[in-house]
Symmetry: C2
């Protein structure tokens, strides 16, 4: 059974949870996988930090807490500092590169950076930076199919914003494809 | 130890997950409680149905799956039909009353309905119906404090939309207070 643990971290208002929801939903569309998203709020949740854990699996997920993420998407420096020590030794780290500078990067970590805020602003709406990140995630991880992610975006964003969000998705995906080329 | 299980259900685009996030976050602000939000995506997630499970507890939540919700917030008929049989016998059912007509209501269930879509439209933005529902939830359940929910809304909605969302919260809360009076 194949299972992938993913952590998404950033600050409130960046749409980090929606990013996790879209990946989770895409996984269930793509090849009939199962996914679970968990978000924990403790007294420490008083700040603006925000995180979600997503598990994608071939089978139902019995224990939805992420223990060692293989993929970390960090949209704030705080999230990167906090969650990077928890990842596996050969994890994939995906960052908003104008907001995050990874420190003490272990040698096995694969790093991918994208200026998602700037790209979102170029598309006319800063708010869609999370969807730019999701497109980038889709390209560099290959975890879920691009078609499935498009479908998940359509099903997850507010009505009337689909076109703008699909453009953001495409921009992030394209940026990933360029990096890999 | 006091623990409350809550289920939120509706269709995609209604902001049902954000409603759950706000309640979860408010609980952690209010009296230092802990909360967990879980969302499961199976192959059945292909449709537009959407649900989240929130557990609010005095202590850390070790098993974040909801087994028998004591509170169900249903924003679609499908969600109401699907989740109502799972609740406790004396659960609280909160519905968007222009979208949902509960069927086979057990005698112990307490029902609260609000025309959240219409109220949101009156405020000028249909998209904030979920926050209207959250305000209503806060009033009728008394589970979390109104101040904490306000803080959670501020921390959870996109930057620049705080004022509009706090108005929606207030409208839903006020509607609840009127019903109870």
């Amino acid at each position: 059974m194949s299972t992938t643990e993913i952590k998404f971290g950033g600050f409130g208002g960046q749409g980090i949870i929606l990013a996790g929801i879209i990946i989770g939903r895409a996984a269930s569309i793509y090849e009939n996988k199962f996914a679970t998203l968990t978000q924990s709020f403790g007294p420490e949740a008083r700040g603006s930090a925000c995180s979600a854990q997503v598990i994608v699996s071939d089978d139902r997920v019995m224990y939805p807490y992420v223990t060692k993420p293989e993929i970390l998407m960090a949209m704030s420096q705080e999230a990167c500092n906090k969650f990077l020590p928890e990842t596996t030794d050969n994890a994939t780290l995906i960052i908003e590169k104008d907001l995050v500078e990874p420190q003490n990067l272990k040698p096995g970590i694969t790093l991918y950076g994208i200026p998602a805020t700037r790209l979102a602003e170029e598309l006319g709406r800063k708010m869609i930076l999370n969807i730019v990140m999701v497109g980038f995630f889709t390209s560099v991880t290959g975890l879920v199919g691009y078609d499935a992610v498009q479908e998940a975006v359509r099903a997850s964003v507010p009505q009337g914003t689909e076109v703008m969000n699909l453009k953001a998705l495409d921009r992030g995906y394209e940026y990933g494809e360029e990096i890999k080329a």
